[in-house]
């Protein structure tokens, strides 16, 4: 078995998050692989539809939840379109976990501010559940999540659950014009809402993920709030093929996103050429 050969996984559950975004719950077919498999928050994998090819996503479930993994995807290209045609009981391929991870151990004893835009909530959700499953080991947990419109918000049932928890401060927002008449959340771009909510940077880490524009706008706001660049983490998803530091596709300057990332601090991002 060479290193490009995936493990086989069964689709156990399909959840439609939005009209174009879907989540799969997956289990390994081989019980030995299932027993040995482990990963850290922030790592990614190569998911494949046989006959169509492979595509790269983070693992969207938390490592604290064993026995399965989840991925969320939007039908955008050839493989994701094929994934969308699959249903419960079908077989997909998975290689991974690859890449580095969020420093959960370092974050323990601190507050964590999560900022996500659109489907960028997928990798952040993995960290959120990891933190919430060990809730007593962290101080304040703040989540600021935004999407273009109400119908574009993903993980709605979990947003509801986090909103009800007294130990989580959840702020949801949609871009101006994206609200519905009964929308009770904020209206405005994610970075502006972060500025308004103004989470304390004292003893805190920030985890930011979303389209490049969300990250670019959120970083100066976090700096203004007093977050230092080494306490701000994000995850990049450049196009990849191998995930193993060989195919040469994900380089940003000297960095291999698949091996040195996908998790980077804001300090590391500032060292990179603007090619992400």
């Amino acid at each position: 078995m060479n290193l490009y050969q995936p493990h086989l996984m069964t689709i156990e559950e399909v959840v439609d998050e939005t009209t174009d975004t879907r989540t799969f719950n997956l289990t390994f077919k081989d019980p030995e692989v299932a027993a040995e498999f482990g990963f850290r928050a922030g790592q990614f994998g190569e998911y494949s539809v046989f006959g169509e090819g492979e595509c790269t996503f983070c693992i969207a479930s938390a490592p604290t939840r064993k026995g399965y993994i989840e991925c969320s995807f939007k039908a955008a290209g050839k493989v994701t379109a094929a994934l969308r045609r699959m249903s419960v009981g079908d077989t997909i391929g998975f290689r991974g976990p690859y890449g580095n991870s969020f420093p959960i151990d370092e974050m323990k004893g601190h507050s964590v501010v999560f900022i996500a835009g659109g489907i960028g909530l997928a990798p952040v959700r993995c960290v959120i559940w990891n933190v919430l499953d060990l809730r007593e080991q962290f101080k304040d947990v703040t989540i600021v999540y935004g999407a273009r419109s109400v119908k574009d918000l993903v993980y709605k049932r979990e947003l509801e659950e986090w909103g009800k928890r007294p130990d989580v401060k959840l702020v949801q927002t949609v871009d101006p014009g994206g609200q519905t008449p009964d929308w009770k959340g904020e209206v405005g771009y994610v970075a502006a809402i972060v500025e308004k909510v103004a989470p304390s940077s004292k003893d805190a880490f920030a985890v930011v993920c979303g389209p490049p524009i969300v990250i670019k706008l959120a970083l100066p706001v976090l700096a203004k709030l007093g977050f230092t660049d080494d306490r701000i983490y994000t995850t990049l998803e450049n196009r990849m093929k191998c995930g193993l530091g060989k195919c040469g596709r994900c380089n940003i300057g000297p960095v291999y996103v698949c091996k040195d990332g996908p998790v980077f601090t804001a300090a590391q991002l500032k060292e990179l050429p603007p090619e992400f």
Binding site: N2, Y4, G53, A76
Partner: protein, 351 residues
Amino acid sequence: MKTKCISQADLAALVADLAAAGTQVVAPVKSRDGRALDYQRIGRFEDAALGESALPRRSLKEFFLPTSEVLLRYRLKKQDVVIEEVPAAFPPRIILGARPCDAAGVEVLDKVMGWDYRDEPWFGRRAATTIVSLACQGVDGVCFCSAMGLSPDATKGADALLVPVGSGFVAEAVTPKGEALLGSRRFAEGQLPASVEAFREAAREKVAKNLPAQPAAFHEWLGKSFDHAAFNAVAQRCHGCGACASVCPTCHCFDIVDESEGLDCGARRRNWDSCATRKFTLHASGHNPRAGQNERFRQRVMHKFAIYPRRFGEVLCSGCGRCVRACPAGMDLPELLGQLFRDAGAQGGAR
């Protein structure tokens, strides 16, 4: 290192011995129109064009990283999938008359293929293959191996080196695999003729004139020179065709795709790719981190002379000059490097 001699006739006999023992023999062979050389499998020694001084059109890379390689086969069975593994063992093979720049390129690539995750198809072929380089006399004005820390008689990546002398060759073993080969009765003990050193020296001098050696700490300087004006100026000519990458001994970027071979079966393949194309980095969202041809050309130069050296301690280039010869737009890498070397020196980046 131990040196031996071998005549043309004995080399022919050696090729016959190897073929009889089931070893595939690859050598530079004249193309059908007689105007170019290609590395090809040969059945008999007479097919090899060892006397030709030109570079084969493509490098040795494809013997270790094939242009298109099956990574696995799949068969769909209702909701299930059966994966058929491809063999991980490869038949023994000898490459006779490898150009030293091509042999060096293979060794340079061992680094990226072996860091952390080991690429078994690559190393399977590496283990099964013995590379016998033939000292080069310098091909033309765009060879620049000596600027890359190599030479026309470099042994990097080679298991043994042949140097032409009179009607035969002097043979030098470089690795245990090379020693094993030189153990064949076809090689004879012999005195080292003085003309061997003269041949090597003449070739070195010829190539060294083409481009001065890469200055020390060049890769560090280049890594900080992301906005150097030369990239934009030179890249205006780039069509993004990727010809440079396909003839390059060290360009190794690849794609992984599924190709169906029937309604319910197919193969997952690894195919050569090039960072020169727009689609290489294009995200499904439409966002492209390297949207312009200038940025893509810069990436190729940066990967070779800044990124790879920083990561693996080696330049991702063996100075074969094929990219210059292949480029339909006349782009000249050693010319660009000459300018960058001078700027690196002038700006105090090189010590």
